[in-house]
């Protein structure tokens, strides 16, 4: 079963990577969704960390019979500053999980704070980027995950 799921997800990377984008700001969610679609990615958006975890099957109520999307997701992009669970806390939860820990997590922030950046990189973030994201930023990310 697990082997089938992982080979299915590696087949999907070459066609359209599936990205989960997490941001509490409505305008930014719309923008990141468009940027990702422009770069030929499938996009799912979430407005906070809790919903993101639930989508990935890592939520409080997850069990093996729940429909989890974790194995379909090839990359997670999350805003740092979010009420409730920050992007950093979300990153930690993802890295702690056995199914999601190898999925690249990108942290985006409007603020260029070195201690914040170091903290995220040390916790295993793929890359830290400044908002607002540009088309060239997203193209670069896509190349990284599809190794083109």
């Amino acid at each position: 079963m697990e082997t089938f799921a992982s080979s299915a997800s590696s087949l999907s990377i070459s066609s359209e990577p599936h990205v989960l984008a997490v941001d509490d700001n409505l305008v930014d969610r719309k923008l990141v969704e468009k940027l990702l679609k422009k770069s030929s990615c499938k996009v799912t958006t979430a407005e906070d960390g809790l919903r993101a975890l639930e989508y990935l099957g890592l939520g409080a109520h997850h069990d093996s019979s729940t429909n989890s999307n974790g194995s379909k997701v090839n990359m997670i992009i999350t805003d740092y500053c979010m009420p409730g669970m920050t992007g950093y806390e979300l990153l930690k939860k993802i890295k702690e999980s056995s199914i999601m820990k190898d999925v690249p997590v990108v942290i985006v922030s409007s603020e260029n704070i070195p201690t914040r950046i170091n903290q995220c990189m040390e916790e295993g973030a793929q890359i830290f980027m400044l908002k607002p994201l540009k088309h060239s930023d997203v193209e670069r990310l896509r190349c990284q995950i599809t190794q083109c």
């Binding site: 305008v27 930014d28 923008l31 422009k38 009420p83 908002k131 607002p132 088309h135």
Partner: protein, 151 residues
Amino acid sequence: MEVGQLQRSFIEYMSSLFNEGFLDAQFSQLQQLQDESNPDFVVEVVSLFFEDSERLLNDLTMALDQPNVDFKQVDAHVHQLKGSSSSVGAQRVKNCCVPFRSVCEEKNTEACLRCLQQIKQEYLLVKNKLQTLFELEQQIVAAGGAIPMMQ
């Protein structure tokens, strides 16, 4: 008005918005993202920005009207407003947010109220300008023309 004239007015108007600092390069990014699969993208994003901003400006007004102002809450709202305005390229609104966050940190209600007043003015200005721009676009399309791409 004939199409050529409309298109020239559009280009002039758009240029003035950039020259006067109402819009910055991020707005151009939005325009570049618009394509046949999503021909109303810019209008859609800007509409979200209008909705979001008006809600935040209301929240800010209420928050600063409290006997005991919750400055953390005020700062959170300004942070959101700074984010959205930055994402659509509404430069002057974004720039107003910077001093606002400073006076918030100082817990200076009077100064916050002045900043709020300024942001409201800048917001109404840019909203007006963008609506005019969109109307010009509609006129061009109605006259059978194509909307000029700006550099």
